[in-house]
């Protein structure tokens, strides 16, 4: 099996480094890809479950643009709806009717949604949710999970990061995941001053195993929030519509006050949403929060068409089923080479890790070998399965996985064998 080279990606990166901070910044930075030389940096085009890099290499995409691609790149139902709206208007003076239709759709499919507010990125709505919580309660403190990610604003980043002041962190209290007594302790420590509790439906730290909620966790958190009048915010930006079309809170059986949505909404078109309960609707109306492109109609049309189609085929179930098929087979292949592949999270967005080497170097090498052969695996972040991944994709991926294990076995010999 031939392995890929990336001379054009590297050349483009050299140009980029001259005019763009870090060459490629943010979550697309190649820095966590180990080694970066095993990965493409630039995509020339994409279709279905695959993308082609600027060197002409093709990849089965298990990052799905870090989440937004959910029904396949260029999915016809989305593109047609977007094109139709584009002919009518996109960024215009005055909101488009499709905004109302999309809000009605979300209210219709999500039990936790009595209203919807639209923005562009996940952090737009996590910030908005926190502002609403503070305004509604007249309190300051926000409780979040240690290692949780809700965007890049100062309050969201861990202390010590560049550009983050102590003041940014002053009203943020971090507690461990799945630790109800820790939340109770915070409520005791700051009586009448906790405005909101924000967390993802299950915990997805980077470079570490995902952690599901313990039995009764959300039920207890919800009860504590209700008892202490704390706004319960679910950051469903990454998980949303990959577990359940009714929202991940429905999957886990609880009802948040506010739910933040983004990635899977519009199959790559830029839109995010905050949906919430009736009691917070008037607060959401008076907290001023807006952006230049937040009323763009094309992403709204794309989101509406996408969510309808996802509901028709029960896309979360498709992704969960295909993901399980792929992951179970991968675990078996790994075992055949003496490696333990640990899968955490749900199969539609799994975090995968070889456990034989605690340092992750073996795992990083294996991900690199897979990517060099056309299955795009990152070693540090959960992967994403889309509804566009086909049986043929899975079969091809398993062949690559086998070859990659052969390659790392040849490199490491019996070291790390279980």
């Amino acid at each position: 099996m031939a392995t890929y080279r990336y001379s054009k990606s590297q050349e483009l990166f050299r140009r980029a480094a001259g005019v763009i901070p870090g060459g490629i910044y943010g979550h697309f930075s190649p820095a966590p890809l180990v080694p970066p030389s095993a990965y493409p940096f630039y995509t020339a085009r994409a279709e279905g479950s695959r993308f082609w890099d600027v060197d002409g290499n093709v990849f089965i995409d298990y990052m799905c643009a870090y989440g937004p691609m959910v029904m396949g790149y260029g999915a016809a139902h989305v593109e047609e709806a977007a094109a139709a709206q584009r002919r009518l208007g996109d960024s215009t003076t005055g909101a488009a009717p499709v905004m109302v239709e999309l809000a009605e759709l979300l209210v219709d499919i999500m039990p936790a949604a009595d209203w919807a507010f639209f923005a562009k990125n996940g952090a737009d709505v996590t910030n908005f949710a926190v502002m609403i919580a503070r305004d509604a309660t007249g309190r300051d403190k926000i409780v979040m999970i240690d290692g949780g990610y809700h965007g890049t604003a100062g309050w969201m980043q861990a202390p010590g990061h560049h550009g983050v002041s102590e003041e940014d962190q002053r009203h943020v209290v971090r507690i461990p995941w799945n630790d109800v007594p820790a939340f109770e302790a915070v409520l005791d420590q700051y009586p009448g001053d906790v405005a909101g509790f924000i967390a993802t439906p299950y915990h997805i730290p980077t470079f570490a195993d995902s952690q599901m909620p313990a039995d009764g966790y959300w039920e207890k958190i919800q009860a504590l929030c209700r008892r202490h009048n704390v706004v319960l915010i679910v950051d469903d930006i990454r998980h949303g519509f990959r577990l359940d079309m009714a929202g991940s809170s429905a999957y886990f059986g609880f009802t948040p006050d506010l739910t933040c949505l983004c990635k899977a909404m519009a199959n790559g078109y830029p839109i995010s949403a905050l949906v919430g309960c009736e009691a917070l609707k008037s607060t959401a109306a008076r907290v001023f929060h807006t952006g230049s492109y937040w009323f763009q109609a094309v992403p709204m049309a794309a989101a509406r068409a996408n969510l309808v189609k996802m509901g028709e085929i029960n896309a979360p179930q498709v992704m969960l089923t295909r993901g399980a098929l792929l992951l179970d087979a991968m675990v078996n292949i790994a075992r055949g080479y003496g490696y333990e592949l640990k899968v955490t999270g749900v199969p539609s967005m799994p975090y995968v890790r070889i456990t034989n080497d605690e340092s992750l170097m073996l795992h990083q090498d294996w991900c690199a070998e897979c990517t060099r052969r056309g299955a795009y695996f990152t070693p540090h972040h959960n992967w994403f399965i889309s509804a566009a991944h086909t049986d043929a994709d899975i079969q091809r991926t398993l062949e690559i996985v086998d070859e990659a294990f052969k390659a790392v076995r040849a490199k490491y010999g019996s070291a790390f064998q279980s």
């Binding site: 930075s29 080694p35 970066p36 010590g160 605690e358």
Partner: protein, 253 residues
Amino acid sequence: MIESLVKANLNLYAVLRNLPLLVKSDPVAAKTVAQWRIGIQFVVWRGPAATLVFEDGTCVFERGRHGNTEVVFGFITPAHFNRMMDGKGTPVPLKGFRHLGFMRNEFPKIADRLAFFLKPTDAKLADPHYLAVNTRLTLATAVFAARELALFDPTCRQVADRIRDGAVLLKILPDGPSAHLIFEGGEVTAGLGDVQRPMARIDFRDQATANAFLNGRLDPFTAIASGEVAIRGQTPMIDNLSLIFDRIPGYLG
């Protein structure tokens, strides 16, 4: 107050502790101390203390007060010590008055040589020997300073709390020099040389790359993406450690 104390720790435990490495790395420094036979203690009231011993052309640095040295210098506050390190203050000789001449005339020669190598310019770095010594000293300063910051700087302590147990190796390819930090149960140990089975490692392609990286003349993200600097293993350890490294110039810059 705490900032001054942390800076004193850095000055003593990360900067002045480079003297043994300087003597090993630089023939001029080695020649300077060749005939010295003297022990000097630096004692900061409610602050750090260290002992330097010059003997038979070697220099040994130890944290804390050790042995009955010929000279003891006291500093009434960490800020007092920091002023001396900045060339703006003088120590209080607590012992060794008969060595005052040595301290006034001889010791500054090695201190000045250290300062020379720790303040690079483009012109100085064009000299391969300077580049090599500056790189060694800067690498050592980085790991020893990181240890102090991880334990004593309030913000860095929060960052260090997020670093899992294990060793981080920093190595200049192909053959070193190298340095490491070991995090274990809330303790942090810094050292020179390799370490077996690091949990994370930073490999610099060559000396020039390491020098540019360590002196803040190379964008880390670009350097990593382009392969000039390779990171492997538990990269969150490196991410957090880099946040600590980035605070060193705030104290020593």
